[in-house]
Symmetry: C2
Subunit: 423 residues, 2 copies
Amino acid sequence: MTQLTEARKGRITSQMRYVAKQEGLKPEIIRKGIVKGEIVIPANIRRKKIRWCGIGKGLRTKVNANIGTSPQMVNIRDELAKLKAAQEAGTDTVMDLSIGGDLRKIRRRILSTTDLPLGTVPIYQAAIDTVKRKKFIGRMTKENILEVIEEQAKDGVDFMTLHAGVTQKTLEILRKKKRMTGIVSRGGAFLAEWIIFNKRENPLYEEYDEVLKIAKRYDVTLSLGDGLRPGSLADASDEAQIEELVTLGKLAERARKVGVQVMIEGPGHMPLDQIEANVDLEKRLCRGAPYYVLGPLTTDVASGYDHISGAIGGALAAWRGADFLCYVTPAEHLRLPTAQDVWEGVVVTRIAAHSADIAKGIKGARDWDDELSRARGDLRWKKMINLALDTKKAKRYHPSLKEETCTMCGKYCAIKKVKEYFR
Amino acid sequence: MTQLTEARKGRITSQMRYVAKQEGLKPEIIRKGIVKGEIVIPANIRRKKIRWCGIGKGLRTKVNANIGTSPQMVNIRDELAKLKAAQEAGTDTVMDLSIGGDLRKIRRRILSTTDLPLGTVPIYQAAIDTVKRKKFIGRMTKENILEVIEEQAKDGVDFMTLHAGVTQKTLEILRKKKRMTGIVSRGGAFLAEWIIFNKRENPLYEEYDEVLKIAKRYDVTLSLGDGLRPGSLADASDEAQIEELVTLGKLAERARKVGVQVMIEGPGHMPLDQIEANVDLEKRLCRGAPYYVLGPLTTDVASGYDHISGAIGGALAAWRGADFLCYVTPAEHLRLPTAQDVWEGVVVTRIAAHSADIAKGIKGARDWDDELSRARGDLRWKKMINLALDTKKAKRYHPSLKEETCTMCGKYCAIKKVKEYFR
């Protein structure tokens, strides 16, 4: 059983009930959204009760934080510190993108530590295992890939990024129409390497039915990856990106058909004026499947602040219909993030998501702002600080919680003066 | 003479030529924009050659940084450090909003230090002088106000915020339709206090012709302030705000008529879905006058990160037509900014402005991104870092400038792999 097959049978699962409560909606609304394929609940049947979340139309925009080792930086304690930072900062889900060290051990440790839905990119493990054993990614077999997917599903992974849209056809487009930044997706690049070397089709695409069987068995939500996402403004909305999206739409349909939950991944780097069209296109081509975007970054020059260009693009994307924002940290393009980078990335992405939720009229979103602003109008500092999205930073910036005082304007306080008169 | 009167006579001033060169446009385009009232060049005739900038339609979106003392924090060295930070971070203009210490001395020191256009809010000095001499703002006379405006104009101030739209009529609306956060503009509050105590019309409104005479004599660009800007999402686009905007539109027309350059100030706090309409309305009611917005902040709960909610709103506003972004710092709503806060505020606001410029197709805007992305595609780290908007932070995050290496993916570098194949 999956959430989708249950929903089709008219059954309300405990996950649906949990999500409905979180959202302040009736469980039936969640169920119907799942039937339509507009809502997913990543919830591997092998995991115990966790803090599930619903992702999709009409729901609060969710935020994901990526953690994980690199070949040069392998320290499980660092990863657990990042996990803690992400959770405390309020992320909704976590992805383990480790590519260094003992990948199984790291993943299992993260899974046993967190009570949030966990995502992975199985091709990393499949490719790296192959390199270790056979020196070269090209020697990876379809069995290797399916085994890793099954192993991770058994471990309890709730959603998996699968770059099944990187095909011989899309690579041919890429070869003909040179891009400024080629392929910037690590998983996409692994598969491209494999396809080019073997002169054969992407095994995730060819063996998609097998992948679906595993996903269905454990109710792993598929996150169809955009291996050809633009890595620069110049490459945004190009033929390769759109062709891949068309493919992903078809694959999404096949997943739903057999009762597997599915969402679609999106860019990347994209100018502000292309974002709305991009979201519309995804919703259209993928029949309303939840859209999971990475940014989008609205400029290429903000290194060190890509969490902010990502928040600008993410806010607009989510307002126009994207459902799930993958955070970007200040370390993007520069280094692996630290726990502090993770914290900032989550907070800033939550600001983007919440700004969008206000604009799209998500139930209850504005109440938070109104409560804080009422406190602000009354100069109740303690309440203002406690209601801030990042209470810790707000407190650091305004250590005095004495009511009705403020170092900014002192006796020339505008709020106080006007309040006296209009009382 | 003012830029506007000269432009009307068909003359290209040195300021217009300077601005045209900065923008990569023909001087005649700048001149025509000034004639239409769609472009201003704040350039007090008493200042020597400075780094002028054009603000308005078709030009790069400009960024302003506010500095200034508060009654509790008076230290000219701190202000000069903030000024330096703002300039190094790349602000286009600076405003001195000091309300503590010797206001004249501070302003003159800033003016003699910076080569950027400087703005002020003269009502601060007029009100604070009055409080010092007569204990109460209500005792301020129209002469006091006009004298301060003239004094500041003589000092060389290039643009001045005047809250001439806070009138008996708009205050009456405010009294009837309670707001969540009342008046949050300091200048607006000073004038509201005066109007209510004296039961008379706003002297900036009543004596507007006198104000215009001074502005014309020194070519001070008027920045018609939004004293009733919303201080919370709940108050956005309410009757008081829009009524004030209608008044500002009429005052803008009167300024242009006599040859005074004018721009309009805007919010404030505003949900994402109201920003475009707000910009459209300003352009309509004020006949294309440059729009100078503070944020807008797209949520009320981001204390400590209001520069980011401001960047989200500012990017959207500027893309839809706003011309000038007043920065917001992480200290907004919490304390006076430090030099570090100023730095961050300017950088983040520049990211918003640049993202907007790419989307609105400002000449040459995308070239910067393309150059950086070309370097990124080739893994040329030194060039990537040097082209970053904040080179210092990028370098801090990526200290190794060895080419073709990176701690993120190590040997699993996507860019490298694909490059090899598609070469």
